[in-house]
């Protein structure tokens, strides 16, 4: 048995889980179970939202340690689902490592939802949340427009690897421009509701709820990382929309 390869395959599985937005404990437990299924008695794993450390002990007593940086995090529940499934089957049957490696690579490379569907999703989130926060149908239509804008900006920024803090500022500024502009030219629209609904696409909802969950389940370090992340995103949104609001006050005196 090639323990080096085992560690790299398991690390890849853990990296994909963390990268696609699974909880820390899920990644750690999946890796523990995989190691146990392949007959490793001692394995120590320490995962953070940005980094995974693994150390296992080979039967001859020589330890193997790996560290893996997790970059380009996003949320893809479909991939988490597939990796979890793969992991469960691997724990039951312990397939050859090459086989497992290939399946993991295939999942990593698999494309997400088609672009048009994602655009509809962004528009739909903004549309439904504008209605949810008490907007009218006209407000919601403007919301859907900002959803499309946010999706387009986000895909451009991801493509050219822009700083995420910076891109959130610009996206929320775009939301501010569209919503306040629409509210200025059509006074029967309510700017507050449109902005709240549209901003839901950017709000770090996952980070906000899961940092508390990490802290309460004693993953303090990951919890603090997520807390800082959600604070930064919230600040970026505030900066973007706030700047536009101040500007519009100066221009139109609204």
């Amino acid at each position: 048995m090639d323990y080096n390869e085992l560690v790299s395959v398991c690390l890849e599985i853990g990296r994909l889980l963390v990268k696609n937005g699974a909880e820390i404990y899920r990644a750690e437990e999946s890796m523990h179970r995989l190691f146990a299924a392949y007959g490793v008695e001692e394995s120590h794993i320490f995962a953070l939202t940005t980094c995974i450390n693994v150390s296992i002990c080979q039967p001859d007593g020589v330890p193997i340690t790996r560290i893996c940086r997790v970059e380009g995090r996003c949320i893809d529940l479909g991939k988490i689902d597939r990796i979890n499934d793969l992991c469960r089957r691997a724990c039951r049957s312990a397939p050859p490592l090459d086989d497992l490696q290939q399946k993991v690579m295939a999942i990593d490379r698999a494309p997400g939802s088609p672009r048009s569907l994602q655009a509809v999703g962004f528009a739909g989130v903004a549309f439904a949340f504008t209605l949810f926060f008490g907007g009218t149908a006209a407000d919601a239509a403007v919301g859907a427009l900002t959803g499309l804008l946010v999706y387009w900006l986000q895909s451009v920024f991801v493509k050219y690897r822009a700083n995420s803090f910076f891109s959130t500022i610009l996206e929320s500024a775009g939301i501010g421009v569209i919503c306040l502009g629409a509210a200025h030219f059509f006074p029967n629209l309510s700017a507050d509701r449109m902005i709240i609904g549209s901003v839901m696409n950017l709000v770090p909802g996952i980070a906000i709820t899961s940092f508390m969950r990490d802290i309460l389940s004693a993953d303090y370090l990951s919890g603090m990382l997520r807390f800082v992340e959600s604070l930064l995103v919230a600040m970026a949104i505030a900066l973007g929309v706030g700047a536009i609001m101040v500007l519009s006050k100066a221009l139109w005196g609204v």
Partner: protein
């Protein structure tokens, strides 16, 4: 009616969000239904006029629902939980906090910010209550199963006594 429309809107929002995060098929419908149920429970406890408690009860309901659905669909509970929690995420709170910050109203800024923080805590507490209970239950079941398997083997008494 005042119950139906918010729940329906949160259902639609969750469906749209599922498209963004690549959740497909029936799972999308079940997860979105969780969002509608969560908001329904939030509104049901509205007579208490205490929104932190409302958020906690809603997140208890959503996470219980998610655990059941994850068991039925044999998928990780994360998928259901993340989508169903979306309507409860304090987006309005964040917006109001930001607005007070921009308009320079510092005392309202601090109190709204702390309230938003409290909402996040209440939601997390609800999730934690349910998931810890479920984990405790499965651990007890597993231990019992192991003990039963152990006793049926009829090991010789230790030390030959």
């Amino acid at each position: 009616m005042q119950f139906f429309f918010p729940c329906f809107y949160s259902f639609v929002a969750c469906v749209a969000y599922c498209m963004c995060v690549n959740l497909k098929g029936w799972r999308m419908v079940w997860a979105s239904l969780g969002g509608a149920i969560g908001w329904g429970v939030y509104l049901l406890f509205g007579f208490l006029h205490h929104d932190l408690f409302q958020y906690m009860m809603a997140s208890v309901a959503v996470s219980a629902y998610s655990e059941v659905m994850a068991r039925l669909n044999k998928t990780p509970v994360t998928g259901f939980l993340l989508v169903s929690m979306l309507p409860m995420v304090p987006g309005g709170g964040i917006y109001n906090t930001m607005q007070y910050a921009v308009s320079g109203n510092n005392s309202m800024f601090l109190s709204t910010g702390l309230h938003t923080f409290g909402i996040a805590g209440a939601i997390a507490l609800g999730v934690l209550l349910v998931s810890s209970t479920v984990r405790l239950y499965t651990n007890i079941q597993q231990q019992k199963k192991a003990e039963r398997a152990h006793s049926s083997v009829q090991l010789p008494p230790p030390d030959g006594r």
